[in-house]
């Protein structure tokens, strides 16, 4: 399975949740598969999906899912200690780990080589870290949503992309409709 197949699989599970989605293809794919006003699409700023999602989770009580990638977590590695030390039990970080920088042409990341993001997250102090295969992501996410405990899911999948249109929605519209869902 590739990332877009995971997104298609988990779409029914996340459609009623607050979702912060990573820059580039992940946001474009999720937007194409199941656009929801509760999705915050990142149009720029690689690496910050986990930080933005944690901020939303710490600020209010609704559950928040950050969809991130292995490359983006590597870009913002300092995020994992911050997450570990600021526990928000309404927060789930889903790292779709395809071992590559998908949006830029599938260049390999170190997470696809010697570096295990699961081990790193645990070493940083994250207490609930679940590594799963792509096909089990939907179940892992369902369990995490039911669990009321901050959870990091590392979903291992194959690299590869599908053709998707860019998101042309205005950023202020994305932000405004997301905030209305937070307040709803």
């Amino acid at each position: 399975m590739i990332r877009s197949e995971i997104l298609r699989d988990i779409a029914p599970v996340i459609r009623d949740q607050l979702v912060v989605c990573n820059i580039g293809l992940p946001s474009q794919e999720l937007h194409m598969i199941d656009d929801q006003s509760s999705n915050f699409y990142m149009l720029g700023t690689m690496g910050l999906s986990s930080s933005i999602g944690l901020g939303v989770a710490l600020a209010q009580d609704k559950k928040v899912i950050s969809i991130d990638g292995d490359g983006s977590v590597l870009t913002n590695f300092g995020t994992l200690p911050t997450i570990a030390n600021n526990v928000a039990d309404n927060y789930i970080l889903l790292i779709i780990d395809n071992g590559s920088y998908g949006s830029t042409g599938d260049q390999p990341t170190y997470a696809g080589m010697k570096t295990s993001l699961t081990a790193v997250a645990k070493a940083c102090g994250c207490e609930n870290v679940v590594e799963c295969q792509a096909k089990d992501t939907k179940q892992a996410l369902t369990d995490a949503l039911a669990g009321d405990k901050m959870t990091i899911i590392v979903a291992k999948c194959e690299s590869g992309n599908i053709k998707v249109p860019v998101i042309t929605m205005d950023p202020v519209v994305i932000r405004d409709r997301f905030m209305k869902q937070v307040q709803a």
Binding site: V20, G44, S51, L54, G55, V56, A59, T79
Partner: protein, 165 residues
């Protein structure tokens, strides 16, 4: 009242309740004061762009955020300020220690100081400079201005303001 208390009082009076910090020697007293206040969720970040991401999320979650950082951080936050805070139109007060100004003992700090205002100007970030005690009297108005206009706003605080090192 100490200047640290006054600054944090102004934050609290303006509803600022989520503050991320990356330390600087000059800001140590403010950071201690923030940590001590129950009204504020204090979340230290490991890098300033990470902190700005946390602030963006907290704002969308209903909090009033702020970041405390050194001017050297302007170098690592340009992309985040432009593509996140400004692009999505979010307010962000940035209380910044302005290292490299008169009284600075570390030569390397001057290298970033000479670019600080130019970079903020290029980024069209409203910028205020606290040099003497009374300059801090404007903080309350600056915070109101920031949350009125939904922009990042920089408050540079130099060594003279902090009475040296």
């Amino acid at each position: 009242m100490s200047i640290n208390t006054k600054i944090v009082d102004d934050f609290v009076a303006n509803g600022v309740n989520f503050i991320t910090t990356v330390p600087c020697k000059q800001l140590a007293g403010v950071i201690d004061e923030i940590e001590a206040r129950e009204e504020i969720y204090h979340i230290p970040s490991n890098k300033e762009d990470e902190g700005i991401g946390l602030c963006a999320g907290a704002f969308m979650g209903g909090k009033r955020p702020a970041i405390i950082m050194q001017n050297t951080a302007i170098g690592v936050t340009v992309n985040t300020l432009v593509t996140l805070t400004q692009f999505y139109r979010m307010p962000l007060p940035m209380l910044i220690s302005y290292r490299g100004e008169l009284g600075e003992p570390v030569a390397c700090q001057v290298e970033m100081a000479v670019h600080t205002k130019a970079l903020l100007n290029q980024l069209h970030i409203p910028t205020y400079h606290f040099h003497k005690d009374s300059d801090a009297d404007e903080l309350d108005a600056i915070l109101k201005h920031t949350f009125m206009c939904n922009k990042p706003v920089a408050i540079l605080t130099d060594a003279s303001f902090w009475k040296g090192y």
